[in-house]
């Protein structure tokens, strides 16, 4: 068994390196980034300076080692702030507005633009809505399928607040950590997922 495993592992390594260029030194990459984005304001510069977790995701193409994954889960879990009132669910109707809003964070947005979660861009939610993306899994009947279980509700809050506290290098934005959505907006999106009256669960 061990004998057959080793050559397979070696083959996988070879296949991986054959398809990807060797990653240039970070200083070289940074010089290119500076040439193209260097004139942006300090606030904008800060947004493309990777934090410890993102730096790992960038160098490993979202495939961190198990040690890096453990460190990331620990680091990112510590960054999650749960509601002080212990309530996870807000107003599902407002949650729909947040889920349906793709504005915010773009250089073309006027100052003061309220950001949305843009959930429909990547997820199916209300099964009656035909215009949904497929980068993320379908979330139709999300609460119903999970029997509105309180632990699951807390886990979903964690995932929306900081996806990398659940899945290292998740493709999903870290809405709470990166201050894209505030606590109330996240609660409202949570209600859209978990309120039995929400179209998601109808």
């Amino acid at each position: 068994m061990i004998r057959t495993l080793i050559p397979v592992a070696a083959l996988l390594l070879v296949a991986g390196s054959a398809t990807a260029e060797e990653r240039p030194a970070q200083a070289v990459i940074d010089a290119y980034i500076k040439s193209t984005f260097g004139k942006a304001s300090a606030e904008w510069q800060a947004r493309i300076k990777p934090d410890d977790s993102l730096a790992v995701c960038n160098t490993t193409r979202n495939n961190p080692s198990s040690a890096e994954s453990d460190a990331m889960l620990k680091r990112e879990s510590a960054r999650v702030t749960y509601p002080a009132d212990g309530k996870f669910l807000g107003d599902w109707k407002k949650g729909y507005q947040v889920a349906n809003n793709g504005r915010g964070g773009q250089f073309s947005d006027p100052p003061g633009t309220v950001a949305g979660g843009n959930c429909f861009a990547c997820h199916q939610l209300d099964p009656k809505e035909v215009s949904y993306g497929t980068l993320g899994p379908s979330l139709a009947a999300y609460g119903k399928d999970r029997k509105y279980d309180p632990e699951t509700i807390k886990d979903a809050y964690t995932k929306i607040y900081n996806s990398m506290a659940v899945v290292p290098c998740s493709n999903m934005p870290r809405f709470g950590v990166n201050k894209v959505l505030d606590e109330q907006q996240i609660k409202d999106v949570m209600a859209y997922l978990f309120d039995p009256e929400s179209p998601v669960n109808k």
Binding site: E21, S41, R47, F107, V180
Partner: protein, 277 residues
């Protein structure tokens, strides 16, 4: 010439409405879809695609004497020799010894305007993207130059060390995440058959047909914007949607990404200007 253009404008509405379902994962082949495909065919006819107006304007600009030296761009070397246009676009971006730099078409044009014509390029860069009642010399010139490589194959230039560095950095940038949503190019363009809302997303992380068809169809006439757009605009708009800062026009990271994408698209047939949603 006038009538078909008006016809194209009338069809624009149809195309905008239809573009989403057209690129959805498994679109049903119904009658309206076949009809739209017929419109697409029709619009790729040089006499109906408004992008060819940009080609014509670009041809005039290429020959126009401008700048302090009062010369045309006909002495500009796009890589195949001074004034040689056939096939030049198919090999861009590439390394230019006189500038000691890898340049894309736009960067090279700006270089020629500055060095050859003595033209102050500030106004040209200000008008880099056309808008209502604002023509873009760059879009028109690139449309003209790219059209001279139509029906040819994409030939990425990767022999000079600086070209190789560009390709490697471009690949690294493709996977570099940032902005408030932690997005990279790969967030949307590294898996097969995915879409945002109803918009299909080309997987550009692998070499082959999808990358070839994508890169072989720029510059394009964007019906939704009523404008001819080049890869510079496509990448500018991608970074906007990625929630990154405004990328500098004709700058290193954009050229690096273009080199990487051309590498993914090697051998693809160039059909430009195309027409898109």
């Amino acid at each position: 010439m006038k009538l078909p253009i008006l016809g194209a404008a009338a069809l624009a509405a149809v195309m905008i409405v239809a573009a989403g379902p057209l690129t959805a994962q498994s679109p049903p082949q119904d009658d309206s879809e076949k009809e739209i495909e017929r419109y697409r065919q029709m619009l790729s006819d040089p006499f109906s695609n408004p992008g060819f107006l940009a080609v014509d304007r670009g041809e005039a600009l290429w020959a126009e004497k401008r700048g302090t030296k009062n010369v045309s761009l006909e002495g500009c070397d796009l890589g195949e020799g001074a004034g040689k246009l056939d096939g030049a676009f198919a090999k861009l971006p590439r390394y230019f010894a006189d500038a000691d730099k890898v340049m894309d078409t736009e960067q090279r044009l700006l270089w020629c305007m500055d060095k050859l014509q003595g033209l102050d390029t500030k106004d040209v860069v200000l008008r880099r993207f056309s808008g209502p009642a604002r023509a873009s010399d760059m879009e028109d010139l690139v449309a003209f130059i790219a059209n001279k490589s139509s029906d040819m194959k994409i030939q990425p230039q990767l022999s000079h060390p600086k070209e190789m560095e560009m390709a490697a950095v471009g690949e690294a940038l493709f996977y570099t995440r940032g902005g408030v949503n932690d997005f990279s190019c790969a967030t949307c363009h590294a898996e097969e058959g995915k879409r945002i809302r109803l918009q299909g997303l080309p997987n550009l992380s692998v070499k082959g047909k999808t990358a070839q068809e994508t890169m072989g169809s720029w510059p394009t006439y964007r019906v939704s914007q009523s404008a001819l757009r080049t890869m510079q605009h496509r990448l500018w708009d991608c970074y906007r949607q990625q929630r990154w800062p405004v990328p500098e026009y004709g700058s290193e990271a954009l050229t690096a990404l273009t080199v990487f994408l051309q590498k993914q698209a090697e051998g693809g047939e160039i059909k430009v200007p195309s027409i898109k949603r």
